[in-house]
């Protein structure tokens, strides 16, 4: 019997965020030679590299953050915009709709006080002004979900305003029952992950991405849930990554940690899991000092232990508490979600949520907040 394919399934198949799916791994690993690959370090230039790299197969702008309202209420949020190229080049056309670029976005707000996790998802072609990204001025958007250079938007009105040394962006995204209106100001320059921004994901050359982060972004603005509006402030994190292929077939998923400590430092670590249960040796991270100096963390420099698990009502067991140790720094951390259920039922199921961090560094107490992403835990047959 033939199975009818609804359009949504086609869209699912494009949403390659959780690249653990074997068919998705195939898609990404198809190794279409017409797409350039990340094989060697490149010179990064900002703000140009905040803009799109459409010649690469996929790319994302990944913003997560922990915010507090003036009334003392805790929130987490995520806005991610993915770009996928369906073909290396846009076919020539008189129609503005003709495009080889597809954009997908995920939006989530964590509201632990009400035990609410609100999510939404958008799809669009990167054409006809509906979705896209530009470098100068910086903007990336899909419909009315938009991250853009605040200064550039303003300079249109009052030319010659302060020349943005750091990133001063605005973020707006509205779903039916919730919305975000935030101002983002990067407090540190971009941090290049991996080898000067080349992040190797498996042993095969070219299975890598270009990867940088803005690890500490001062954030203030409004969160609206139903008819309630909260004035909020806190810190956000931006992950930027582009590549034409990433995982190999034995790599089934990853656990990603982005932690911001009260002492002004940050730590990012991703642990790639192999199908035999082991941690891939290409797992890696970056430690950022308070002054913005970054140093690479190899998989041998980090010890990650799962302390607890959470069973998703939809099937699948996620880790839900970890011990993360960096022996060289005498850093021992315990990481715990602010809410167990921060699982996104977008076209691909994954867990992405706000966490609290406590622990010691050289015997001194440290604490902080962060975001964790867990992919590849949902059983394959419960994907929809």
């Amino acid at each position: 019997m033939k199975r009818a394919i609804p359009v949504i399934a086609l869209l699912c198949s494009l949403s390659a965020h959780a690249q653990q799916r074997s068919e998705l791994a195939e898609l990404l690993d198809a190794g279409d030679e017409s797409f350039p690959r990340a094989v060697e370090p490149r010179a990064f230039s900002f703000p140009a590299d905040h803009g799109p790299h459409p010649e690469f197969r996929n790319e994302w702008w990944y913003i997560t953050g922990n915010l507090d309202s003036t009334t003392g209420r805790r929130f987490g949020y995520e806005l991610t915009i993915f770009r996928f190229a369906l073909a290396p080049r846009r076919p020539a056309s008189s129609s503005a709709w003709r495009s080889n670029q597809v954009y997908i976005a995920h939006l989530a707000v964590t509201d632990p006080e009400e035990d609410r996790f609100l999510t939404d998802e958008k799809f669009s072609r990167g054409a006809a002004g509906l979705a896209g990204a530009t470098a100068k001025p910086f903007a990336v958007w899909i419909d009315d979900w938009r991250i853009a250079d605040r200064m550039a938007d303003r300079s249109a009105a009052s030319a010659g305003a302060e020349d943005g040394a750091g990133e001063a962006w605005s973020l707006t995204a509205a779903s039916g029952d919730f919305s975000l209106t935030l101002e983002l100001d990067a407090l540190k320059p971009p941090v290049l992950n991996g080898q000067a921004g080349l992040s190797q994901k498996s042993d095969e050359p070219g299975n890598a991405s270009y990867y940088y982060s803005l690890t500490r972004i001062a954030t203030r603005g409004e969160i609206r849930i139903d008819d309630e509006v909260f004035d909020v402030a806190g810190f956000s994190w931006l992950d930027r990554e582009w590549s034409s292929s990433a995982l190999d077939k034995e790599q089934i998923g990853w656990d990603w940690f982005a932690l911001q400590f009260d002492d002004g430092t940050e730590l990012m670590y991703y642990s790639i899991r192999r199908s035999d249960g082991s941690e891939d040796r290409n797992s890696a991270g970056t430690r950022t000092a308070a002054d913005g100096t970054a140093s690479k963390l190899g998989s041998d420099a980090v010890q990650l232990t799962v302390l607890d698990t959470w069973d998703s009502p939809a099937g699948g067991t996620y880790p839900s508490r970890w011990r993360l140790a960096v022996p060289a720094e005498e850093l021992v951390l315990e990481i715990e979600p602010v809410m167990a259920n921060q699982e996104l039922f977008t076209t691909v199921r994954y867990w992405e949520g706000a966490v609290d961090v406590t622990g010691t560094k050289g015997g001194e107490r440290v604490s902080g907040r962060g975001y964790v992403e867990l992919t590849g835990y949902a059983p394959p047959d419960s994907d929809e």
Partner: protein
């Protein structure tokens, strides 16, 4: 009771002909109702379902002027206004070449990303081409990728991943089938492509045909405030409704035809069922004499009728479904010819339709049997066995029945005059008219037969005289059959006269309207301006006209605007009905005013001096009506506007067709060839034809539309022939004793056969004569009432004597065919045997 049942079963077993005819009558009547109902219903349902599928959850549509909606407005709604449940559509006709005849589909250019908020299109996975994402990749990024329903692909021989030619706006484009709809044929009339492909093919970058959107009632006002000038917000359901309403008149006419067939069928059912009772009067008398009660007799007869009705009903349903499939083809073809793209995969069996057909069969059989059953049961036992009682009674009742008929006729007239514009009332009047004639016909026939008898004597001697005199005497047997035949024949006369008058009017209208020598056009519009220039600069072209047709949907209906740039000699082609042309034309060219077609004026209650509101690019505007003009355009044509006026209010510069006036009309053929060559040079396949060619094409479409009408009235005639056959057979069986007597008195076999043939032929002739006034009256009502009320057309009635004579001949032929077997059988009567029968 068992005695009665046994008697009943025994009778039917011994008279298989009676049994067969009774069942056949019911079967035929039921089949026709079912067939028409199914064909109409299936076409309607297929249209609604396909429209439902492509409307999805959209509640409204944003439409613009003739050149559509600016796509920037769509982007604004999404990126700045936060609307999410909306999708852009670029739509047009697309022709797929096929050896069995080109197929016109609706090209639907859609954005699948946006579609998921409104519609649920589903695709069959490609057989070999692998993964979903590959399908989606190609649909989005490979220009020319399309999806059609599996059935359409099969019919047109399209294969997955193979390319084929699509003609859009006259240009040949290469398409490739990347998937088929998993839709059970609902989307059979559609060709889905990415919106970019559609814009490329239509050569209309930046423009959308419409925006489909889902809005709540409380969002409407705010949304309307955002609409740019010249854009309007329509109710999706309203648009579906007004599209469907175009076919209402067509479907009502078909239903009327099916009711006509049903009516004839009912006569036949009555005829057959009552025979089985009448024939058994002696048997019933015997049973009553044996002590069976009235009630028992009544129950037995009615029960038997119910069983026969059910059997005939079931057979009728089966036959009707089969017939419905055949009819559906013609119905679909006509709708495609006249109204919109429709693909109907198969007949949809609706429980209601089937129940209706079955109930008609059973009820008709019960009613038909009840009258004679009551009568038979009511008579004293011995009297029931005498036949003369019945004839005598029938004879006495005739004048009263005829009076009732006259009363009905008056009622029909009252209905017509009192109802003004109601189409339904018009149809009711037709049926009252038929009933009134049906009631008077036996009386007329009896008198005519009386008048004919001496004539028959002079012409054919005793045999003939006996035969003709027998008619009036046997009216209880033949009356209903005569009525059925007369009604069927009158329907053929009425419909023939109507269609012929209509055709004549259309023909002279076409001759007048097509005043240029050569026409070229693109049904979907958009002739290349360079091609227009090249064509109009040909040496032989002395003058030219251009036209553009565009459809405005509005709150409660639609208006077709025809924009014409007249050639100096072209004004005469439009017949102005209610004003002085010399005064109208200069104003029409100069002022912001319009002409409206007669049907449009009729439907919208417009007259000279009123105004038509049209959505211009700068908002709605009233255009005064200067006059009405004649038009037989099925889609109601509508509003005729001068190009110079149009250009002042709309930016659209498209031209759909051009009329060329030549220095020498004889060069038409040569110029058509030149225009086609120019079309090839500019890579646009325009349709080019001489005015005679278009006239022929138009008339062939006209004729094709009436094929169904033809089929239906031949069905009615067929049913009537079966009725006559049954009546004649029964009559001759009954006359067995009389025939035996005639044989023993020395009549030869051939004289006996001749006697029966003369009788049936005369019955046919009488029925035919009686049908003439009814036929002409029906033609009049069809032309002056039904067509006028349904379409607003005024048709010049023209009664061609051929149709009248043809009707009478048809009646005679039908009667002779129906009577052939009984006549042959009569010839074989064995005198002694026949007389000993009792």
């Amino acid at each position: 009771m068992t005695v009665v049942l046994k008697a009943s079963a025994g009778f039917l077993r011994r008279h298989p002909w009676q049994l067969g005819l009774a069942v056949l009558g019911i079967t035929a009547g039921v089949a026709v109702i079912i067939a028409v109902d199914l064909a109409n219903g299936s076409a309607r349902l297929a249209f609604l379902e396909s429209l439902d599928a492509v409307t999805g959850e959209a509640t409204h549509q944003v439409v613009g002027g003739p050149d559509g909606v600016d796509e920037a407005f769509y982007a604004e709604l999404r990126t700045e206004r936060g609307y999410t449940a909306l999708a852009p559509i670029v739509e047009s006709d697309a022709v797929i070449r096929n050896p069995d005849g080109d197929r016109v589909l609706t090209l639907l250019g859609a954005d699948l990303f946006a579609e998921q908020a409104l519609r649920d299109y589903r695709f069959n996975p490609g057989d070999t081409s692998g993964s979903f994402e590959d399908l989606f990749d190609r649909f989005l990024t490979a220009p020319g990728s399309v999806v059609v329903s599996e059935q359409t692909a099969d019919e047109l021989g399209l294969r997955l991943n193979e390319s084929f030619t699509v003609v859009v706006r006259g240009r040949e484009r290469e398409a490739s089938l990347v998937a088929t709809f998993a839709d059970a044929g609902t989307l059979g009339a559609y060709l889905l492509a990415d919106i970019a492909t559609a814009q490329e093919w239509l050569d209309s970058p930046g423009r959308l045909s419409r925006i489909d959107i889902r809005l709540n009632e409380d969002e409407l006002a705010a949304f309307r405030a955002l609409l740019p000038d010249g854009n309007r917000l329509l109710h999706a359901a309203g648009r579906t409704q007004s599209t469907l309403e175009m076919t209402d008149a067509f479907m009502i006419n078909l239903n009327a035809m099916s009711l006509l067939a049903l009516l004839v069928g009912l006569f036949l059912i009555y005829n057959s069922a009552s025979f089985t009772v009448l024939q058994r009067r002696p048997l019933i008398g015997t049973l009553r004499a044996l002590g069976v009660t009235q009630r028992q007799v009544l129950f037995a007869i009615v029960g038997e009728a119910a069983v026969l009705g059910a059997i005939g009903g079931i057979l009728g349903v089966l036959l009707g479904v089969w017939l419905g499939e055949k009819l559906l083809f013609f119905v679909t073809q006509s709708i495609n010819d006249l109204y919109f793209r429709l693909a109907v995969s198969d007949v949809r069996l609706s429980g209601i339709t089937l129940a209706k057909g079955l109930a008609a069969g059973v009820v008709a059989a019960l009613v038909a049997a009840a009258v004679p059953a009551l009568e038979a049961a009511g008579y004293p036992p011995r009297l029931t066995m005498a036949r003369s009682t019945l004839e005598g009674k029938t004879g006495r009742a005739l004048p009263w029945v005829a009076v009732a008929g006259m009363a009905l006729m008056a009622l029909a007239w009252l209905t017509l005059t009192a109802s003004e514009t109601s189409l339904l009332a018009g149809l009711v009047a037709i049926f009252l008219l038929i009933l009134s004639f049906a009631l008077t016909i036996p009386w007329i026939v009896a008198h005519l037969a009386g008048l004919f008898a001496p004539l028959a004597d002079r012409l054919g001697g005793v045999t003939a005289r006996l035969a003709v005199a027998g008619i009036a005497a046997s009216l209880s047997r033949t009356g209903v059959a005569v009525v059925a035949l007369a009604v069927a024949v009158s329907a053929t006369i009425g419909v023939s006269v109507m269609v012929d008058s209509f055709r004549g009017s259309v023909q002279s209208w076409l001759e007048r309207t097509l005043s240029a020598d050569v026409y070229l056009g693109l049904p979907s519009g958009g002739i290349d301006p360079d091609l227009i220039e090249a064509v109009t600069e040909l040496d032989a072209v002395e003058a030219f006209s251009t036209s553009r047709r565009t459809l405005f949907f509005d709150g409660d209906g639609q208006t077709r605007l025809i924009v014409i740039r007249m050639a100096p000699g072209g004004y005469g082609g439009v017949e102005i009905l209610d004003a002085d042309p010399a005064e109208v034309w200069p104003r029409w060219d100069r002022e912001d005013a319009v002409l409206v077609s007669e049907p449009y004026a009729w439907r919208n209650g417009l007259r000279r001096g009123d105004a038509v509101a049209l959505p211009t690019d700068r908002g709605r505007r009233d255009f005064p009506v200067l006059a009405t003009f004649q038009s037989y355009d099925v889609n109601g044509s509508g509003v005729l506007m001068s190009r110079s006026v149009f250009d002042r209010h709309w930016t659209d510069t498209t031209v759909d067709s051009i009329g060329l006036y030549l220095d020498d009309a004889a060069r038409s053929g040569e110029i058509v060839a030149e225009v086609e060559a120019l079309g090839r040079r500019f890579d646009q396949r325009v349709f080019a034809s001489s005015n005679t060619g278009i006239r022929e094409l138009s008339l062939s479409i006209f004729d094709r539309t009436f094929i169904i009408t033809d089929i239906l009235y031949w069905l009615a005639v067929g049913v009537a022939i079966v009725g006559i056959f049954g009546a004649m057979l029964a009559l001759q069986l009954e006359r067995g004793r009389e025939l035996g007597l005639l044989r023993s008195l020395g009549m030869t076999r051939s004289e006996l056969s001749g006697n029966v043939a003369i009788q049936t032929g005369t019955i046919g002739a009488l029925a035919g004569l009686a049908a003439i006034p009814l036929g002409i009256a029906m033609a009049w009502v069809l032309i002056e009432v039904i067509n006028r009320r349904a379409f607003g057309w005024q048709i010049a009635m023209d009664v061609a004597p051929g149709f009248v004579a043809g009707g009478v001949l048809l009646a005679i032929a039908a009667a002779l065919v129906g009577g052939a077997y009984p006549a042959w059988r009569a010839g074989g009567t064995e005198p002694a045997l026949a007389m000993r029968e009792e």
